[in-house]
């Protein structure tokens, strides 16, 4: 059973990395959101599996949040936003997709090198999971810095956060995981619905962060 448990967890975490890389590759917002939904669902699966393996029923809550909130609600909300704003046509990555992919690969490699060397004695499950989680985190960050559009950045941030949840659930017996995942969900909701759309649209009529940048302090 441990073997199977490990394999499935490994597979799910690995696919998360893969999906992260896929997200980097997307250059249209609707597609990006779809891929992100897949990402969230995979995370939900992974967390559910961990809940099962670790026999920690409260992790199912986290899994459910990942599935319902991030896999369904947020993508829907985002899609509505981009369609209403008419920016669903395309997104402009700052650097070319090829280069971004290459950088993504390098980051995954870096994550592996750092993590696998790091934990020789840790359980393989935790170790592999951590390596993947770090990869997902780094890829999410890369996504944030390579997208000019705020929606893209939010998606990047959410995938970063997925990596965190992956790591947290991979850590056997870690307390407060559910609370953290709830807190993060609220944070994201905060970003997406509360401050972001309400205030930014109220003032700027667009969600392109570059417009915001015109109001950086001190520029005459």
């Amino acid at each position: 059973m441990p073997d199977l448990g490990f394999d499935i967890a490994h597979m799910l975490a690995g696919s998360l990395v893969l999906v992260s890389l896929m997200m980097l590759y997307q250059d249209r917002l609707p597609a990006l959101i779809n891929v992100f939904a897949v990402h969230a669902m995979l995370l939900a699966g992974s967390v559910a599996w961990q809940a099962y393996v670790q026999d920690e029923p409260q992790l199912y809550i986290t899994s459910a949040i990942a599935l319902g909130f991030k896999g369904v609600m947020i993508p829907m909300a985002l899609r509505r936003i981009i369609f209403r704003l008419g920016i669903h046509r395309e997104i402009e990555p700052v650097v070319s997709t090829g280069l971004t992919m290459l950088a993504g690969m390098a980051l995954v490699a870096l994550a592996m090198v750092v993590m696998l060397r790091a934990t020789p004695e840790a359980t393989p499950l935790a170790r592999e999971d951590l390596a993947f989680a770090l990869s997902v985190l780094l890829l999410g960050l890369l996504m944030m810095v390579s997208r000019r559009n705020a929606v893209g950045q939010v998606v990047g941030f959410m995938s970063l956060e997925n990596g965190l949840i992956l790591a947290a659930t991979g850590a056997r017996g870690m307390p407060l995981v559910v609370e953290i995942s709830v807190a993060f969900s609220i944070l994201i909701a905060f970003i997406v619905i509360g401050i972001f759309l309400f205030r930014i649209r109220e003032r700027f009529d667009t969600v392109d962060v570059q417009v915001l940048d015109q109001f950086r302090g001190e520029r005459p």
Partner: protein, 480 residues
């Protein structure tokens, strides 16, 4: 009454006050409640001196965090006094509405709650939650004026802060992962006092990665370059009491978290020494901020950069380590909190009197507003490290202890100090001296917090009470 209850009180009072303030409509009353609650928190903080050290799975009281808590509640209290007179003016000029003020006061206490909880938490998860709560509260406060600039600053703060939150959480998870095989699953593996006791058995490599994430995550809050970007704008665009609290308190709380994890790493012989990383980031922040001071046009933004500079020095000192440098770091931190918040108090009134924050439009303050002007001079002189004010002593100790052990490291340090000094004095020259420009209208200011802080800084520059010295020395020894 059992004084141990003040362990709870220091965060329970702000939490309760926040709830009350959210319900009280009148701003005069709420500013009084705010002051009163802050004073009570301060009293609770001071009473911590009289109770024995405490450790359980959630709360921790040792000599290190008492220093932070007392400083925190003290500046929190004085800022609430300043805030009371400051906010009235904002209401008069219509920059804030009573509704927003209600929100402001509630958030003020939420922030104090978060910071005090973070300081007293023994659980690294709880600490994380508390710091993020405080951060979120300040983000809301920064955006409270709802001008383009304020929203932009808040947004920037929010995004960068969220990434920092993520990093810190990842670091926390990694620490748990490192502890879990040794301590066992569950709560104890997140209890700092347990962790530090058994850190020697942890997997060092995992701790290394954890520390990098924690340093970057909490370092974002400390304002270390190159993670500092949110800091100047948040200081410049938010209400001045919040700028004072940010510089005087929040940075310290984040620094406290870094220090706790540094101690954890130091307890593991196999892990990398956290010192060099901190020193490098400290020096980078110092020199970078020193250069950034020159081109500033906004007075609050300039002092925000000066905060980055000082946090650089402090982080450098703690990174350098050893009883002397740690002592110097603690002293520098205390002095910086007091002096910088005093400067922000002065700057707040100055900006109100002149109706602008632009440095170019504020001139000849010592002529037009002598008391505020000289207070600003005194504050800047203090923050620039001139005697007989306290920062001079701490910088003396930082530089000389560095020079004694690693002479070459003192050169960039001294260089950064000098460059920053040049910038501060250059701006002070224009701000405080010359023909007065702009409005010379009297401003109703509360001088007490400002001069209270400066008097403390002055006294500390000449005489440190032996009890305080012993305390700091003990803490410096703890920090290793």
């Amino acid at each position: 009454m059992n004084l141990s209850v003040s362990l709870i009180l220091i965060f329970a009072i702000p939490a309760g006050a926040a709830a009350v303030l959210a319900l009280v409509p009148g701003y005069r009353l709420s500013s009084r409640i705010n002051m009163f609650a802050s004073l009570m928190t301060l009293a609770a903080g001071v009473s911590l001196f009289f109770i024995p050290a405490h450790t359980d799975n959630y709360l921790l009281l040792d000599d290190l965090n008492i220093v932070f808590i007392v400083l925190n509640s003290f500046v929190g209290f004085t800022t609430s006094v300043f805030s009371a007179s400051y906010i009235t003016h904002e209401l008069d000029t219509g920059r804030l509405t009573p509704a927003y003020l209600r929100f402001y006061h509630a958030m003020y206490q939420v922030m104090m709650f978060g910071m005090n909880l973070a300081l007293i938490a023994n659980n690294i998860g709880l600490m994380w939650v508390a710091i993020e709560l405080a951060t979120l509260a300040t983000i809301l406060m920064v955006g409270i004026y709802r001008t383009h600039e304020a929203l932009e600053a808040a947004w920037k703060y929010f995004i960068l802060g969220s990434v920092g939150i993520g990093f810190a959480l990842f670091g926390t998870i990694l620490v748990y992962m490192a502890a879990q095989p040794v301590v066992g699953e569950g709560l104890p593996a997140m209890v700092w006092s347990v962790l530090v006791a058994r850190a020697g058995d942890f997997d060092p490599a995992l701790l290394n990665i954890a520390f990098i994430f924690l340093l970057l995550g909490y370092g974002t809050k400390v304002g270390l370059a190159p993670l500092h970007a949110w800091l100047p704008d948040a200081h410049a665009e938010g209400p001045t009491p919040i700028s004072a609290v940010l510089s005087g308190l929040l940075l310290n709380v984040a620094l406290y978290a870094v220090l706790r994890f540094k101690m954890l790493l130091a307890a593991n012989t196999g892990a990398l020494a956290p010192g060099p990383l901190m020193m490098a980031m400290g020096l980078l922040s110092l020199i970078f901020a020193a250069f950034m001071l020159y081109r500033r046009r906004d007075i609050k933004r300039m002092f925000a950069y000066s905060s980055i500079e000082h946090m650089g020095i402090i982080v450098f000192a703690f990174g350098f380590g050893g009883p002397l440098a740690n002592f110097a770091g603690l002293l520098q931190m205390t002095m910086h909190s007091l002096a910088k918040s005093a400067i922000f108090f002065a700057v707040g009134h100055i900006a109100q009197a002149k109706g602008t924050q632009r440095i170019a439009e504020i001139r000849g303050l010592t002529a037009s507003h002598p008391v505020l002007g000289w207070a600003l001079v005194l504050g800047v002189v203090a923050i620039a490290g001139m005697p007989p004010l306290g920062v001079f002593m701490s910088e003396f100790l930082v530089v000389s202890s560095t020079f004694a052990r690693e002479s070459w490291l003192a050169i960039p340090l001294v260089f950064g100090l000098l460059v920053a000094f040049g910038a501060l004095m250059l701006r002070l020259n224009g701000l405080a001296f010359g023909e007065a420009a702009g409005s010379t209208a009297k401003v109703k200011a509360s001088y007490l917090p400002m001069f209270g802080h400066l008097a403390l800084v002055l006294a500390a520059g000449v005489y440190l009470p032996p009890a305080l010295v012993l305390w700091f020395q003990h803490v410096a020894g703890m920090l290793g």
